[in-house]
Assembly symmetry: C2
DNA sequence: TGCATAAACGAACGGTCGTGCTATTATTCG
DNA sequence: CGAATAATAGCACGACCGTTCGTTTATGCA
């Protein structure tokens, strides 16, 4: 890896840390340059615009999410175990991956009404995730772990809601019971899917 | 109502519209002044800082939420009907109240890791809402509509998650089934609470 | 109607931002 | 090693920001 690619990684890592605190829109090239110890123009040269920097930061965090959450789940056995792994990793990701929580989910709320390439990227990413999640649930049905008439999309919808409720309780309210509540709700979801 | 209070209302209304699009942090006094057709300094004089403007905007949207969502629910009969009214009004609020969706929920995601008065206000407001919601559920238990051993906090947790999942699907993904999925999930929640 | 006061304005400030340029330094490779 | 190329720095620009201040205009009450 050349020198350029190396500093790009440094920059993007710092960008994700900053974006998790201040939001993707709060990213500033000046502040970022200061944080990594280089000049504004030197940093700017790596990306040709701020928007490009935002997009590359998003791409990187999406890759990290797949690596830390989705791929481990896909290595677990189909059905409940796979979804449990996904849920576990997802909560841990929201808790530990970045100081300010998941950048993608924060950006999704921030840009859900701001047209442009950033929003487009987010929509694509979230659709992918929704599909992946749907496939996991469907595999559980076809494997016999879940009821034949289970509403796959509904299951995915509720599971996503649990993750979001977890983040809301843990990040904003600092509710120590957030994880317990989320896990209990997941059990309820499984009970309904099996019965 | 004097002239001052009148223009304050105009300003705050426009502020909520802008904040629903660009986030609370994206509020700009200059842009706001332009939107309502007055000078920056004239507008600024009404609030003594940008943070004060943000706080007053939040207070106003919280009042509106109580008026349009919470109060109608409290007028409905205890138990399921009350919670159904709350849910109905809440979805409608997220869909219709502002062009960019609920300002409070967006700000909660935006400021969940930004210490300061704005975050403090959001925490207080969301705690209040959580308590109110918990009381509604508890009233249903005590009224005999729900199981004696129902986890009140868990019910509230899941209901909040449904609203957030609804917003994610409707606002970001433009999923036309968002409302259907949310309502189906609410029925599941009620089924579990009754049985 | 006249006057105290509130409301709004215009200009300016220091600051930060994203973004071009040009020059200089560091890296890579024949 | 030396030349080609990549990476970084320095500097300036125009735009926009929140905020302050002195002035002017509008309001509302005696």
């Amino acid at each position: 890896m050349g020198k350029g690619a190396q500093t790009r990684e440094t920059i993007l890592d710092e960008a994700l840390r900053a974006a998790s605190r201040d939001g993707l829109g709060g990213l500033s090239i000046a502040g970022l340059a200061d944080a990594v110890g280089m000049s504004k123009s030197g940093l700017f040269a790596h990306f040709r615009s701020k928007e490009q920097l935002q997009l590359e930061a998003l791409q990187r965090v999406a890759d990290l999410f797949v690596e830390h959450v989705v791929r481990p789940a896909l290595k677990s056995p189909r059905g409940e175990p796979r979804l449990r792994t996904l849920f576990d990793r997802w909560l841990a990701w929201d808790r530990d991956a970045f100081p300010g929580g998941c950048v993608i989910q924060a950006a999704s709320a921030e840009f859900d009404d701001v047209p442009g390439p950033v929003r487009d990227f987010l929509v694509d990413t979230q659709r992918d995730l929704k599909d992946t999640l749907g496939n996991m649930v469907r595999a559980g049905v076809e494997h016999g772990a879940f009821r034949k008439d289970l509403d796959v999309e509904g299951f995915a919808f509720e599971l996503l809601g649990l993750v979001q409720a977890y983040r809301h309780h843990a990040r904003l309210l600092h509710d120590p019971r957030a994880e317990t509540l989320a896990r209990a709700a997941l059990e309820r979801l499984f009970n309904h899917a099996r019965a």
